[in-house]
């Protein structure tokens, strides 16, 4: 009898060293429960948007969709696809995103490389020159006056040109060059008679894939999502980017720009359905506008995180 309890005790003792105590279990249960609640809060608004976009218009208009519609339809998407103004703005945004991203890369990567060279005279002064931009700015009207005199108001170029560099991006890229490429590599190249251009293109660039990916993604998402400069400068609707069109349709409620053509059909029901569909179309538009980002997201997520990490290393 007694030996058994000793045995049991011994086993019990052994297991407490590995097994978690009651307090730990409580800790985990509370923690995981809270995190699950947060997960629901993160996912639900997105889920709901998708659900309504697929809902039968009448059901959506009745406000009874919470998790998934009883009857689904892709008519809202079909209607959005027929809407020319959205596609024009979509194409504009694609153009602006590609062009502006290239512009940003062309400005940021070479200059950050140059600033990563500790032996460059005046490097600190140049860095301060960019640093100041973080704290001082001209503001809305002086910028507007400048762009007006440059002839950029209502021009596509306003979406592409601009300062193109930000201090934080420069610092991130600079510290990447400083930390990830050992100086010896450059030195041996210099000894072999390489010029600065050659070392940049033949040595630094091939090793800079990670930072180029990070900068590309930052610039691309930034431009894809940007709204402000188009809002201030572009009045010609044919040049509008997607986000400006979205604001018009979704926030200002200008649904007539959906080119909403009531079909010739005489049936009251169909007209009613189309009227309701304006509502589900809004959700479909949100999904379509965010789709490229969401589709790309799982694959590029780690690059974004890497960008934050590189940035947190004090350069």
């Amino acid at each position: 009898m007694s030996s058994v309890t000793v045995d049991a005790k011994g086993r019990k003792k052994k297991s407490t060293a590995i097994k978690r105590s009651f307090g730990d279990v409580v800790f985990d249960v509370i923690n995981i429960t809270l995190i699950c609640i947060m997960l629901v809060l993160f996912i639900y608004p997105i889920w709901y948007t998708i659900a309504v976009s697929f809902a039968e218009p009448a059901e959506a208009a009745a406000g009874t969709v919470y998790f998934w519609p009883k009857k689904t339809t892709i008519d809202a998407y079909a209607k959005v696809f027929e809407t020319k103004s959205i596609w024009i703005s979509y194409a504009n945004t694609a153009l602006y995103t590609v062009a502006h991203t290239l512009y940003v890369l062309a400005l940021t990567i070479p200059s950050a490389y140059a600033l990563s060279k500790k032996q460059l005279p005046g490097r600190v002064a140049i860095t301060y020159y960019f640093f100041v931009t973080m704290f001082l700015s001209g503001g809305l009207i002086p910028s507007y006056m400048l762009n007006k005199s440059l002839g950029l108001v209502n021009s596509r170029w306003i979406m592409i040109l601009g300062m193109g560099v930000s201090y934080s991006n420069l610092v991130i890229t600079r510290s990447y060059f400083q930390t990830s490429i050992p100086n010896e590599v450059y030195e041996s190249a210099y000894i072999d008679g390489a010029t600065e251009f050659q070392t940049f293109i033949k040595i630094a660039m091939p090793l800079a894939g990670a930072i180029i990916a990070v900068q590309t993604l930052y610039a691309a998402t930034g431009t894809w999502n940007s709204w402000y400069s188009a809002f201030i400068y572009i009045t010609d609707q044919n040049k509008w980017p997607l986000q400006l069109r979205l604001r018009e349709i979704l926030i200002q409620g200008q649904t007539q720009s959906l080119d909403f053509q009531l079909m010739t059909t005489e049936e009251q029901e169909e007209i009613q359905r189309q009227a309701f569909m304006v509502y589900t179309m809004k959700y479909a538009i949100i999904f379509i506008a965010s789709a490229p980002m969401i589709a790309m997201y799982p694959f590029v997520q780690k690059h974004f995180v890497k960008g934050v990490m590189i940035g947190s290393v004090k350069g």
Binding site: Y129, G139, P142, L146, R247, I251, Y279, I294, M309
Partner: protein
């Protein structure tokens, strides 16, 4: 004799140093060429508008231009202090900003919570989901708020009515009380996950041996968090705090503007939206360009002062500073 020779040698040395510098500059001309384009673009799009700020001190008319317009002294600034909206927009700006500032601890807490997840796959999943809202554009976020909180068939009203909290729809976006919460809590929703990255990176540096040693000595999970994890991220927390304090008067234009409705204007009109409202938002008029430049300058000045102050304090107290 001795002195003069020393002088000549000093002068010679200086000359040689200068020569060397010129040589070095010549040697690196290609690097300067690489850094030149952003210097030019920054000059054009940042420093020229910075110069344009002088219209804040002028009675500007486009016909006379920046240089030709007569000086106005400080009267645009004193006009602003007498502006009937002055206290309203200042209070709105500070209030919205301070409310956002109160959200500061949440990403830290969330990071500590994620860090305690033992299942690596679940942890990855939580991180991925929580970063997602960060990539949704401001326009889409604001559209979602407008749609979800709509008085007419909005999701929030539908849910609240279905569970019996309210019996008729609330016009959240027309409410003077709800604006701050809509603005700030949606910002929290969008930013909390992304905000954890920097803290999680820090927490990954905590040595597992240290935690194991503490556990063997009988520390509870909570004690490990409190005595090991929190002290580990504290320096980062302080730096993030300084950065945050510096932006206290920097309530951005976009989201506030997109959430503005005619009925919440008295609580949502902030400095940045007001300068727009008086100028470009008022049609083609240029009457208040100088005035709004003065407001912008006032804002910049306050922000700069705040950054200087917090930076000085943190250098003295926390021995960390930005510059």
């Amino acid at each position: 004799m001795v002195n003069s020779s020393r002088y000549t040698s000093k002068a010679a040395m200086r000359a040689r140093k200068q020569e060397e510098l010129v040589k070095r500059i010549k040697r690196y001309w290609q690097l300067y060429l690489l850094v030149l384009p952003p210097i030019v673009t920054t000059f054009i799009w940042h420093y020229i508008p910075l110069y344009g700020v002088v219209i804040a001190f002028k009675d500007f008319t486009p016909k006379l231009g920046i240089l030709g317009s007569p000086w106005a002294g400080f009267h645009h600034f004193t006009d602003f202090f007498k502006d009937p909206y002055f206290f309203e927009i200042l209070w709105n700006t500070i209030r919205i900003s301070l409310y956002g500032f109160c959200m500061f601890p949440f990403p830290i807490i969330f990071a500590l919570m994620i860090n305690e997840l033992t299942n690596a796959k679940f942890k990855k999943f939580v991180q991925m989901i929580s970063y997602l809202p960060h990539f949704i554009s401001t326009v889409v976020i604001c559209s979602m708020i407008h749609m979800f909180f709509n008085v007419d068939n909005g999701l929030v009203n539908n849910i609240l009515m279905a569970i019996g909290v309210i019996d008729k729809p609330v016009g959240w976006l027309y409410s003077k009380v709800a604006f701050d919460h809509l603005y700030t809590l949606s910002g929290l929703w969008q930013g909390i996950g992304w905000g954890t990255i920097i803290y999680l990176a820090n927490l990954a540096n905590v040595s597992p041996d240290l935690i194991e040693a503490a556990r063997i000595d009988g520390a509870t999970r909570w004690q490990v968090v409190w005595n090991i994890n929190i002290p580990t991220i504290l320096p980062t927390v302080i730096i993030m705090l300084i950065l945050r304090v510096g932006g206290i008067l920097g309530v951005g234009f976009e989201k506030v503007f997109l959430l503005q409705t005619n009925l919440n204007m008295s609580v949502s009109r902030v400095i940045s939206t007001y300068t727009y409202e008086r100028t470009l938002g008022a049609g083609g008029t240029t009457a208040y360009w100088d005035y709004s430049a003065a407001i912008g300058l006032f804002n910049t000045f306050i922000n700069l002062a705040l950054i200087m102050i917090t930076n000085t304090i943190s250098r003295k107290v926390g021995e960390t500073s930005l510059f």
